[in-house]
């Protein structure tokens, strides 16, 4: 796996992401500065990490989404390249037009930093092949703007096409408003683009990959990607 992690001013989760990619794939990712116009040759996964790009000025992810490197990411994605956006990375992908919808202020207006439960809706995607469909995983969230919204037609399309990959649920995998900490529509935690090669998600799977972190439920996402790319090569 030749991963590239994008680096924007104000991002603070790029090292967690790089550490996880190295741990799971055995290869350190390239760190790519936002002002670059090209991705490193041979890149097969682009990761947009979490943090607070440009201090969340204007709207979360709005300014980063218009950085030069994002043109390269758009053409990489258009050719079928795999793109993963986590937290601020999800917000950036939405703002850049690579994913539909918007992440609004959490319904309770609070920044929420804790573990949540996610139901993995499908296992037949490059991002979720490391899990079983219906499996419930525990991963941390840390955001103030993770409340996913889109117009009714878009949400119906996402649901109808099986593009909601991760959903906030209780520990038993049953959707419950009490476990939907940010108020996202339909408990949406992570979505796929229409071609199935771009995933955005609010929770941080990269922070649950080693025993020392108290949980390894996030590891399946990265292990699945490594497996997918090894088979594709």
């Amino acid at each position: 796996m030749k991963a590239a992690v994008l680096v924007f001013p104000g991002i603070n989760r790029e090292r967690d992401m790089a550490r996880t990619l190295q741990l799971v794939s055995g290869r350190a990712p390239a760190m790519v500065w936002h002002a670059e116009h090209d991705l490193p040759a041979g890149t097969d996964l682009v990761v947009v990490p979490g943090g607070f790009s440009y201090g969340d000025y204007l709207r979360c992810g709005a300014i980063a989404a218009r950085a030069p490197v994002m043109d390269a990411v758009r053409s990489f994605a258009a050719k079928g390249g795999l793109v993963l956006g986590v937290c601020n990375g999800f917000q950036i992908l939405c703002e850049s037009g690579l994913l539909p919808g918007v992440l609004m202020r959490n319904a309770q207006l609070k920044f929420i930093c804790r573990d949540v439960y996610l139901k993995v809706e499908r296992s037949d995607t490059p991002f979720t092949r490391g899990y079983n469909a219906g499996q419930v995983i525990r991963v941390p969230v840390a955001h103030g703007e993770g409340n996913y919204i889109a117009d009714g037609e878009t949400v119906a399309k996402l649901e109808g096409e099986g593009r909601v990959l991760f959903r906030y649920t209780g520990p038993d995998g049953i959707p419950d408003p009490n476990w939907n900490h940010n108020g996202a529509m339909n408990g949406i935690a992570g979505i796929l683009n229409e071609h199935g090669n771009v995933l955005g998600m609010m929770p941080h799977p990269e922070n649950h990959v080693e025993e020392v972190m108290g949980c390894t439920d996030g590891r399946g996402l990265f292990a699945g990607l490594v497996d997918h790319l090894a088979k594709a090569a």
Partner: protein
């Protein structure tokens, strides 16, 4: 020239910040406020004196960056 771009949330989009402000006004005893929606105002200085050109430029700025038209509407005004 002075100009202003006003960005507001589309109707139907839930506005948790507006709701919180609404609640705060109520608790301050400011009666008669039915609802509050929070938006943004951008005061922009434009080069030149061509009003029509300025309007086109502001619309481009709003479409490309200032507003997220998935959830927001905008209005441009050239104040002169």
């Amino acid at each position: 020239m002075k100009a202003r771009v006003t960005v507001t949330l589309k109707s139907g989009v839930l506005d948790p910040q507006g709701k919180a402000i609404e609640g705060a006004l109520r608790s301050l005893g400011v009666d008669g406020v039915a609802s509050v929606r929070q938006g943004k105002v951008f005061d922009v200085e434009i080069d030149g004196a061509d009003k029509a050109k300025a309007e086109t430029l502001l619309k481009e700025a709003a479409d490309k960056l200032l507003a997220n038209t998935v959830i927001e509407n905008y209005r441009v005004e050239v104040l002169g």
